[in-house]
Every structure is written in structure tokens, then in C-alpha cells.
């Protein structure tokens, strides 16, 4: 007898169909993972179960929890079910909690709103729940506010709220996507533990196939609002039926072949770089404190080399990146590009040797400019920017190089998908033929299939343009395939560096070891993935 039973669920908002004939079920104590790329309808499926859909959404079919058809319940009945019979954990722990209420009040609210216990008992129960999710009372009293906790700790509070009344079904929508790998591993272990302990059903929504393979009892693969394939994790991994499923797993584990790096000849030299941030004064006349974001970092990036920089959030990799771009002053050490110093006041000459590609393909373009203007922005760094037909030819050549058409030059940015936008960002970085390109989490926001294409593009560009780049990412799998050498950063320091494959196969530093151990890995799919 399944706990959650979805049969032929269709959902439309206005004229657009969001979900088409979705069927899936979750049994008590079972973890079912719904996976797919953005726009596949996986989050909408979760919201449909909660019946927290957008106002104009129209749902049809069967959606029953323990024999109760949720689609036929009144709003009042649904309020009684939400939080008590179904709990939900969301993606963004930083914003999922009310900033002006204490964590104790917020956990207690779940209990009190359903009048499950008198207030005094509820307080004690909230404390127990926080302890259960790993927030002991001596360090995390009920009176703490959300802003006093880290992302992982906040996600634990959200989980405590969701499980406070021991719901039969827990829905987790990308619960670890916003977290670092080590935190992710802890949260996933906690969820798994709770499912066993409470006998809950867990409906887990995630795009991360490595997480899916690690955690789920059964997998449901969705695309464009439809379920393309579902089955037990073992069975599905061993024998994928649908080409989309195979593509998805292959793309997640996509490997590229980089051309060999030329003989070492230094291009970028970072020598003992130190970056301090001033903290607010503790008292009126006391000296302000300092926070050292980058501590005595030294490394060399050779011409033609592809270097990776990995580390968890807050490790200082973004600060270091900005310092290399000459956007942050250093308090010690120096950074040399091609022998010349980099700093806040560097010359245009020096600036054009370096370009950057950012993470967000949606926010990093001016929406009112056409593509030709967007990608020629770095021209202002040139002494004699090309004009007329030379300019047109260069634009056409660069767009072709990144896999777009020269006709795209006249379009606006909103006419492109996320992957195409990232290609345009690469074109913008490439057009002045810089010596060095910085990729700052450049593929992190992309779906796996698009990410695989962009990685292919980079490998191709390495062959045709002999690129030198610094690839900053938290995604270890990507760094492993796209770089020759890697730096591992922790708390402002480079704790390990070396040839990428060597660092990944036999990490020396304890931190690198724990990082690699925490990262969920795709199982070796063997022949299952190859049968196309």
C-alpha cells in the first residue's frame, strides 16, 4: 500500500500545460527521487502534492495521500494536512526562515498551529526536534535568530520544522543544492536517517544525479512535464530504457579531452597574496579588527595551462578571483600577469590581457544591447578597435567559434537560452584574444546537458585558440575533467596543489580527502550507459 499515490496528474497554468499524465508513488519508509533538468516539472509536482500551486494553476487526476484525495480537499482541510501529515523542505535555507523570529518560535509554530500540544510541551518538543537534527540546546538555544546560523544549520532548522509532527510524507525540493559538499553529505545523511527512524516516505526533488544514485530507493526521471522513465535505483541504473535518461547520466559524467599543455612558461604569478577586510570597530575608540580572506597565497599559472581552483563557500576563492582581476587591493604580496603588476589602477594594456566569464547567464548582460554590442564591450581596452568590415568579420568569427551563428549578432539577449547566453559570455571574453580567461563558476547554473556542451566547447577552444584559464568552481567533477592542475583552497589558504588527476586520485591534505569523500559520485554505469 503506497503512502502517496499520484495517478495521471495533469496541471496547466492558463493555456500552458505544466504537467502531463504524471504518475508516481511513494511507500512509507521509501525514498523516491524525482529528477530532471530545469523546466521538467519536478518542482511543480512537489508543490502539487502540497497543494501550494500558483493561483491560476488547474490540476486534474488523482493525488492521494493515505487514501485521501488531496485534489478534493477544502483549503481548510489542506491546512490541517500541511505540516502535520506532509512536511516540506526547500532549496534556499538562507531565505526559507523568517528573519525576525527565533528558531524556537518557528519550530514551535508547526506544533502550535495544529494544536498538537500545549505551549510548554511544544517548547520542549521543539527543543527535542532541534537536537534530533543536530542542533544541541547548549550551542543552539531556541532563542537564536536565523541570521546567527550558517546555511547548513538553517537547513537543519527547516528540517526540524518539517518533521516536528512526524509527518507521514516529507517532500524535499533540492534540499542541498545551495549547500557545500561536506554540508550536503551531512544533510543527506540526516534525511536518510530520519526516513528510517520515523518510517516517513521521502519525495526528493533534485537535479543532481549523483545524489539521486546515492540516496534513492526509486528514481523518477522527468522531462517537459512528463515522466519518461521510473524504476528502482538499482534496476534503472543497470538498464536505462529511455534515451533521455541515458543522455542525462552520460552528460552528468561528461568527460572532455584537453590538448596537452605546452612547456611551462609563467603567465600569471601570485606571490604571497594577502587580502584583509576591515571589521566594524568593537568599541568606539578601539582599533577595528580584520578578517583575512586570503592568506599568503602563492601559485603560478603557466601559459597554455588550464588551472582549477576549488573550495567551499567562504574559503576566499571569490576574493582571490577579484584580486586577480584587479578589483580588490592586496594588503601584502603581489600578482603579476605577463611580468606586469596587477592592481586597482592597472593600465588598459594590462587589463585587456585578461577576461572573465561569470556564473549567472541571466544577470551578466545588459538586456537593452544587441549581441554585437555586448560581445564587443572589451574593445574599449584596445588602442585601435577594429571598425567596419574588420569588426563584422571578428564578431562573426567569434560567434562561430562559440557555436552560434553570425546572424545572432543582431539579436537581444532575452532571445537566447541559458546555455547560449553562456556561449555569448565566452565570446565576449574571447573576442580580444586575451592571454588569460577566468571562469568564475561559469557552468554551475547550467543544466547537465547544457553543461556538457559548454565543456565540449571549452575543450575545442583550447585546441583552436590555445586558451589559458583559471577555472573557479565548487563542482569537483567538472574541475576534474576541464583542468590540468588544481588548487584546493580552505580558509583563505591553498592547502594543496598539483596535477588534477593526481590530486583527485591520491589527495595528500586531510581537507582535500574529506572534500572528495563528501562529494557524491555517480556509480560506474558500465555498459548500461553505453547502449545507445
Amino acid at each position: 500500500m503506497s503512502l502517496l499515490n499520484i495517478q495521471n496528474l495533469t496541471l496547466s497554468i492558463g493555456d500552458s500545460a505544466i504537467l502531463k499524465d504524471v504518475s508516481l508513488s511513494v511507500a512509507p519508509g521509501e525514498i523516491v527521487a524525482v529528477t530532471g533538468e530545469s523546466g521538467s516539472g519536478k518542482s511543480m509536482t512537489a508543490l502539487a502534492v502540497m497543494q501550494l500551486l500558483p493561483e491560476l494553476a488547474q490540476a486534474n487526476g488523482t493525488l492521494s495521500l493515505d487514501g485521501i484525495n488531496l485534489l478534493e480537499q477544502s483549503e481548510e482541510q489542506l491546512c490541517a494536512l500541511r505540516g502535520a501529515s506532509i512536511g516540506m523542505v526547500f532549496q534556499e535555507p538562507m531565505t526559507a526562515l523568517n528573519p525576525v523570529k527565533t528558531i524556537g518560535d518557528q519550530v514551535m509554530e508547526t506544533i502550535l498551529i495544529h494544536k498538537a500540544m500545549p505551549p510548554a510541551r511544544a517548547r520542549q518538543h521543539a527543543q527535542e526536534m532541534l537536537e534530533r537534527v543536530g542542533l544541541p540546546a547548549d550551542r543552539f538555544p531556541l532563542s537564536r535568530f536565523p541570521h546567527e546560523l550558517s546555511g547548513g544549520q538553517r537547513q537543519r532548522v527547516v528540517i526540524a520544522m518539517a518533521i516536528a509532527l512526524r509527518p507521514k510524507l516529507l517532500i524535499a525540493d533540492e534540499p542541498t543544492t545551495a549547500l557545500d559538499v561536506t554540508t550536503q553529505a551531512q544533510i543527506l545523511a540526516l534525511l536518510k536517517d530520519l526516513v528510517q527512524d520515523f518510517g516517513m516516505g521521502l519525495l526528493m526533488i533534485t537535479h543532481d544525479l549523483a545524489v539521486v544514485a546515492d540516496l534513492a530507493d526509486r528514481i523518477v526521471v522527468m522531462r517537459h512535464g512528463e515522466v519518461v522513465e521510473s524504476g528502482t535505483t538499482q534496476g534503472l541504473l543497470a538498464n536505462m530504457q529511455h534515451p533521455y535518461t541515458r543522455m542525462l547520466f552520460a552528460a552528468s559524467n561528461h568527460q572532455v579531452a584537453l590538448p596537452p599543455a605546452p612547456a611551462p612558461k609563467p603567465l600569471l604569478q601570485v606571490k604571497g597574496a594577502v587580502r584583509d577586510y576591515r571589521l566594524p570597530r568593537q568599541s568606539l575608540f578601539g582599533a577595528p579588527g580584520h578578517y583575512r580572506a586570503v592568506q599568503d597565497v602563492s601559485f603560478t599559472l603557466n601559459r597554455g595551462e588550464r588551472l582549477g581552483l576549488v573550495g567551499e563557500s567562504g574559503c576566499g576563492k571569490s576574493t582571490l578571483t577579484r584580486a586577480i582581476l584587479g578589483l580588490e587591493p592586496l594588503q601584502g604580496g603581489e600578482i603579476l600577469l605577463d611580468g606586469g603588476p596587477i592592481g586597482i589602477n592597472q593600465s588598459a594594456e594590462q587589463r585587456r590581457k585578461m577576461q572573465v566569464v561569470f556564473q549567472d547567464p541571466f544577470g551578466s548582460f545588459n538586456p537593452r544591447h544587441r549581441v554585437d554590442r555586448l560581445i564587443t564591450e572589451p574593445f574599449h581596452l584596445l588602442d585601435k578597435p577594429p571598425t567596419g568590415s574588420a569588426r563584422r568579420d571578428l564578431i562573426a568569427e567569434t560567434l562561430t567559434a562559440v557555436g552560434l551563428s553570425p546572424d545572432d549578432a543582431a539579436k537581444f539577449i532575452h532571445q537566447f537560452s541559458g546555455g547560449q547566453r553562456q556561449r555569448i559570455a565566452i565570446a565576449r571574453a574571447l573576442i580580444t584574444r586575451p592571454e588569460l580567461i577566468l571562469f568564475d563558476e561559469a557552468v554551475s547554473a547550467l543544466d547537465v546537458s547544457v553543461r556538457a556542451q559548454i565543456l565540449d566547447l571549452l575543450a575545442e577552444l583550447c585546441k583552436s585558440y590555445a586558451l589559458t584559464y583559471l577555472f573557479i568552481s565548487h563542482d569537483l567533477n567538472v574541475v576534474r575533467t576541464i583542468t590540468d592542475r588544481v588548487l584546493v583552497m580552505k580558509a583563505g589558504e591553498i592547502v594543496e596543489q598539483g596535477a588534477t588527476e593526481a590530486v583527485f586520485t591520491s589527495p595528500k591534505h586531510a581537507y582535500t580527502q574529506s572534500l572528495l569523500a563528501a562529494a557524491p559520485v555517480l556509480p560506474d554505469l558500465g555498459k548500461g550507459a553505453d547502449v545507445a
Binding site: 502540497m50 501550494l52 483549503e75 481548510e76 491546512c79 490541517a80 494536512l81 500541511r82 505540516g83 502535520a84 512536511g87 516540506m88 526547500f90 534556499e92 531565505t95 526559507a96 526562515l97 523568517n98 528573519p99 525576525v100 523570529k101 509554530e109 508547526t110 498551529i113 495544529h114 535568530f145 541570521h147 546567527e148 527547516v158 520544522m161 518539517a162 566594524p280 568606539l284
Partner: protein, 315 residues
């Protein structure tokens, strides 16, 4: 919280000191001699000299500034040149009209704006929202003195519920005093309420889109419960800013309404003092208003911290 309050208090005192310096020296720098300016172009030289001595203009700048600030601290604002009465008394009399009027108007404005804004936000895009938004559009667009005249026409002249103007004084009792301030307070409050309701609505709508509101709904709160328990307090932060600005305006900017209703308030006092070139009165009232504005800002800062725990711990 205590640290934060002390810090804010320190900045309040600093602002007041800077403001007093600016006010004093602007009048000092102003071309011409204050005494001859006050007496007009036809004044006799010995009259001017006498006034200079009376005003203390023959002393050094520093000692005059010290005397002015020292006087204000001990409640002595000097003597009005035109009325020959202590400025402190004149201001106190007027303040007993202006302050209650401002508070009355602020209370009305908040009482109208909060329910209207919450109602509109809860019914976003529906008829109720449109009606409230239409009404507030009108409230923002129509000047308050026109409201004032309409109120007089309807409630004073036709219905005879209120007097058309004047203030009976607090000696007649609290209710009688409030009664005679009601029409002015309403005409001051309506445009303010319209602005405040719009701010309340948009602040709430912003909050309704926040992730934690969805979390609240997932816990089993109804839409209304989520709005009241989680939405309102977060929406208060921008609303408090506007309330602070509005109070300062109500205290100092009621001059037209005081004129329409013939109320002996601070606005009219400044107006008369400027016409009569009574610099001592102008200087003192301006300083008092600056004091009021800075104090209100201080209170708003404290209210922020009471609402938002992130501010308390940051400093």
C-alpha cells in the same frame, strides 16, 4: 540592543550639535546686520545700536553661540523682538496645538493606512485592491487644503458637527480640544494615509513573495495566518521609515492647514515671525523642529531594532 541604542543616542547628540552650529552660523553669515535687518531700512542708527546691545551682537561669535545653546538647554530661548514675550512661552503655547495635531493626524493616518494596505495586499489584483489603490491615488493627488475646504463645507457649514476653524483650547477639556482639531487632523491625515497605505501594500506584496512565507504555508498556516504572523512584522521596516518622515512633516509642515482652520500652531508662528523679521523666534523654532526631526529619527531607529533582530546584533 543597549549598545545599539547608545550608539544611536550618540549620533543623535552629534547631529543636534552640528545642526545648532549650522543654524547659528547661517544666520551669522547672512549678509547685513541682524539688528538693522529686523528693524527695516528706515530705522534710526541709535535704535539699531540699542537692539544690537539687546541681542548681544556686540559680543564675540563664540560667546553668543555658547549663550544661545546654553539658554536653549536651560529653557531660555530669548525674547521675541516683535511680541516682547519670552520665545519659550510662545513656542510652548503653539506646541500645545501643533504636537497634539500632528499626533492626532499620525494616528488617524496609521489607522486608515494599515487596514487599507493590508486589505489591498491580501486581495491583490481583485476589485478590493483596485478600489483601495484608486482611492489612494486620489489621496496622493489632491492637495490637503482642498480636502480641508471640502470638510469644512460638509461638516462645518452644512452638517454643523464641527466649527469651521479656531481652537477652543485644552482648558475646555480633552474632548472639546480634540473635537476642534478633528477636521484639521483628518485633512492632514488623508494624503499621508494614502501614501502610507501604498507603502504598506507594496511592502507586504514584496514579503508575500519571500521564501519564508511559502515555508509558513507548508507548515499549515492559512494564507491569512501567514500574512499576520510572518508578513506584517517584516513589512513594518519600510513602513516605519515613512511614518518617521511623515511625523516630521506633520509637525512642521501643517502651515497651510493651520491657516485654513485658523489654528494657533507652530507653522503660523514661523510664518508670522518671518514676515515680522523676528529672527530670534525663527532661529528657535527652526532649532526646535530640527530637534523634533532628529528625535523622531532616533525613535524610528530604535523601532527598527525592535522589529529586526539583525540590526540589534550587527552593532
Amino acid at each position: 540592543m543597549l549598545r545599539y541604542s547608545i550608539k544611536r543616542l550618540f549620533s543623535l547628540i552629534l547631529s543636534l550639535a552640528v545642526a545648532s552650529l549650522v543654524i547659528f552660523f547661517v544666520i551669522e553669515i547672512a549678509p547685513g546686520d541682524p539688528a538693522s535687518f529686523m528693524l527695516g531700512i528706515n530705522a534710526q542708527p541709535d535704535t539699531v545700536a540699542a537692539l544690537r546691545t539687546e541681542l548681544g551682537l556686540d559680543q564675540s561669535k563664540f560667546s553668543r553661540y555658547a549663550a544661545w545653546v546654553g539658554g536653549m538647554l536651560s529653557g531660555d530661548f530669548g525674547t521675541s523682538y516683535t511680541y516682547r514675550t519670552p520665545v519659550a512661552e510662545m513656542i510652548a503655547d503653539r506646541l500645545w496645538v501643533s504636537l497634539p495635531l500632528a499626533l492626532y493626524a499620525l494616528a488617524l493616518s496609521t489607522l486608515i493606512a494599515f487596514p487599507a494596505g493590508i486589505y489591498a495586499a491580501a486581495r491583490r489584483g481583485k476589485a478590493g485592491d483596485m478600489a483601495v489603490m484608486g482611492a489612494t491615488q486620489l489621496g496622493v493627488a489632491v492637495p490637503n487644503f482642498w480636502f480641508a475646504m471640502m470638510l469644512v463645507l460638509i461638516f462645518a457649514i452644512n452638517l454643523r458637527w464641527f466649527n469651521a476653524g479656531g481652537f477652543v483650547g485644552w482648558d475646555e477639556g480633552l474632548l472639546a480640544g480634540l473635537h476642534s482639531l478633528t477636521l484639521p487632523a483628518i485633512s492632514l491625515a488623508l494624503p499621508q494615509a494614502a501614501i502610507l497605505a501604498r507603502v504598506m501594500r507594496s511592502a507586504l506584496l514584496d514579503i508575500l513573495g519571500e521564501d519564508f512565507m511559502r515555508t509558513a504555508r507548508a507548515k499549515g498556516l492559512s494564507r491569512r495566518q501567514a500574512l499576520w504572523r510572518h508578513g506584517l512584522r517584516n513589512a513594518l521596516i519600510p513602513v516605519l521609515t515613512i511614518i518617521g518622515l511623515q511625523f516630521s512633516f506633520l509637525l512642521a509642515g501643517a502651515i497651510i492647514i493651520e491657516q485654513v482652520f485658523y489654528l494657533p500652531g507652530l507653522g503660523r508662528l514661523v510664518f508670522q515671525a518671518i514676515s515680522a523679521r523676528d529672527l530670534i523666534v525663527v532661529e528657535s523654532v527652526v532649532m526646535l523642529l530640527v530637534f523634533a526631526v532628529i528625535t523622531v529619527n532616533f525613535l524610528v531607529d530604535l523601532a527598527y531594532a525592535a522589529v529586526d533582530p539583525r540590526l540589534r546584533s550587527r552593532t
